[in-house]
């Protein structure tokens, strides 16, 4: 009798746990919110150890590279690489500034761009099963990181935004995450839309009107409409442009599709390789930029 009771309680525990997880998943999917109290607690508990381990690893790996590559050369190479990254970023910003400048001059409404302070950070953790969704960086609230700060690659391309901050580490939601949405525009024509992640490499540029001029090869940049990413950061390059779905209720003939489609169906290949990047820049949050 006791054995049966023990088996029954174990079975009840199993069913209870599975049901709890089922409810937990359903709740998050319906709310579109992945940062919960559970995740926050786990992150806060492990973040000091995480930061410590990554600091030790960075120390060991950089010590080894200094030893092998001679200290002077390694330092020089680091300085040069930082310089190249800075120049690449400046170049991207310059190109967008020039384009924007031309448009603004036409309107006789000159406006200066603001320089945004940034914090360099090292990526210290990522789950390879969710490589396109999030990663962890070794900077937290004690370093000045705040929620919704934009994160960019050293080349200047947008990578994602901060969705959770602990004192020592932060979680970055990548632009390739299915729950990510970035205000975007085509740099050449200023056609505006929203860049969505798809959970794998490419992005979708939605809500671009079918009358807009968009071509394969166009560069897509942030528009700043989302008030998270500053305008002008490179997102990706257009790889495919098609007419989107027609107005609901109309016959699904090719002609009707072309004539009545409201939006374009645009694929964008991100310029930053989110799986390979190991260092990023965290920009000051939107509130601090004002």
């Amino acid at each position: 009798m006791e054995t049966i009771s023990r088996h029954a309680s174990s079975a009840a525990l199993l069913v209870g746990l599975l049901f709890s997880f089922f409810m937990m998943i359903s709740y998050q999917v319906n709310r579109g919110d992945t940062v919960t109290a559970v995740k926050g607690t786990i992150q806060t508990v492990v973040s000091p150890a995480h930061r410590f381990i990554s600091a030790v690893w960075i120390g060991i790996s950089s010590g080894w590279s200094d030893y092998v590559g001679l200290i002077g050369r390694a330092t020089e190479a680091d300085a040069l690489r930082e310089r190249v990254e800075y120049l690449e970023r400046s170049n991207t910003t310059f190109e967008e500034t020039s384009r924007e400048n031309a448009r603004l001059k036409q309107l006789l409404n000159l406006q200066s761009r603001i320089e945004i302070p940034s914090i360099p950070a090292q990526i210290t953790g990522r789950d390879m099963a969710h490589g396109y969704e999030t990663f962890t960086v070794n900077r937290g609230s004690l370093d000045g990181v705040a929620m919704d700060s934009a994160v960019i690659a050293p080349t200047g391309a947008a990578i994602g935004r901060i969705i959770y901050v602990t004192p020592w580490t932060s979680i970055v939601q990548l632009i390739t995450n299915p729950q990510s949405a970035v205000g975007a525009k085509v740099a050449r024509t200023s056609a505006r839309g929203v860049a969505h992640g798809a959970g794998d490499g490419p992005l979708k540029l939605d809500y671009v009107t079918s009358l807009a001029d968009v071509e394969v090869g166009d560069i897509v940049v942030t528009s700043g409409d989302d008030l998270i990413y500053p305008p002008g950061l490179e997102i990706g390059r257009v790889t495919r442009v098609r007419q989107g779905p027609p107005v609901p209720g109309l016959p699904r003939t090719p002609q009707a599709r072309t004539e009545t489609a409201l939006f374009l169906d645009i694929d964008v290949n991100p310029l930053a390789d989110v799986l390979r990047v190991d260092r990023v820049l965290i920009l000051a949050p939107p509130t601090a930029r004002e």
Partner: protein, 167 residues
């Protein structure tokens, strides 16, 4: 005390799981948490196995940044199957335990894929990824077990002063 030790160990393995791919991306295919869960499920009680696996899954979800409960669900279901299997059959030997861990990895991957399909999210693992993860986790289990056994024997020899040369 055992529970506290298990929790600390799970956190350590969770950290290892997200940190090792930074050292070398190939290490990201080994599910260290699942290795611990499966080995415990083959030896421990059913109740302990599912509680441990639920904790391991929650830690993995918390650290990975995905949907909380996805891996917890998959790991709990897998641990329940393994614990039932372990209570029916005596599983002994690194090779067999490694094989079971490999199968468990594939099973967990399939459950995660099923969830992703149901939630209409992009599937993060293909058939080849599943196979690679299963094989890598199985091989890692075997290595862990052989190292553990060697370490245990070394300890016994030291404690009892047994030496080959009778010195």
């Amino acid at each position: 005390m055992t529970a506290l030790r298990s929790i600390v160990l799970l956190f350590g393995l969770g950290l290892l799981q997200i940190f090792l791919p930074q050292v070398w991306s190939g290490l990201g295919v080994v599910d260290w948490l699942l290795i611990y869960v499966v080995l415990q499920s083959l030896q421990g009680s059913f109740r302990r196995s599912i509680l441990l696996s639920a904790g391991a899954g929650l830690i993995q979800d918390g650290l990975a940044g995905g949907i909380i409960g996805l891996h917890a669900f998959a790991k709990t279901a897998v641990a329940a199957v393994i614990a039932m299997f372990g209570s029916l059959l005596a599983v002994r030997g690194p090779l067999l335990e490694a094989l079971i861990t490999g199968v468990a990895t594939a099973l967990e991957g399939l459950i995660v894929i099923a969830w992703q399909v149901m939630l209409r999210r992009p599937v993060s693992l293909g058939p080849i990824d599943l196979l690679v993860r299963a094989v890598a986790t199985g091989v890692a289990t075997m290595v862990v077990l052989y190292i553990g056994r060697w370490w245990q024997q070394r300890g016994l020899i030291k404690r009892h002063g047994v030496r080959g040369d009778n010195a």
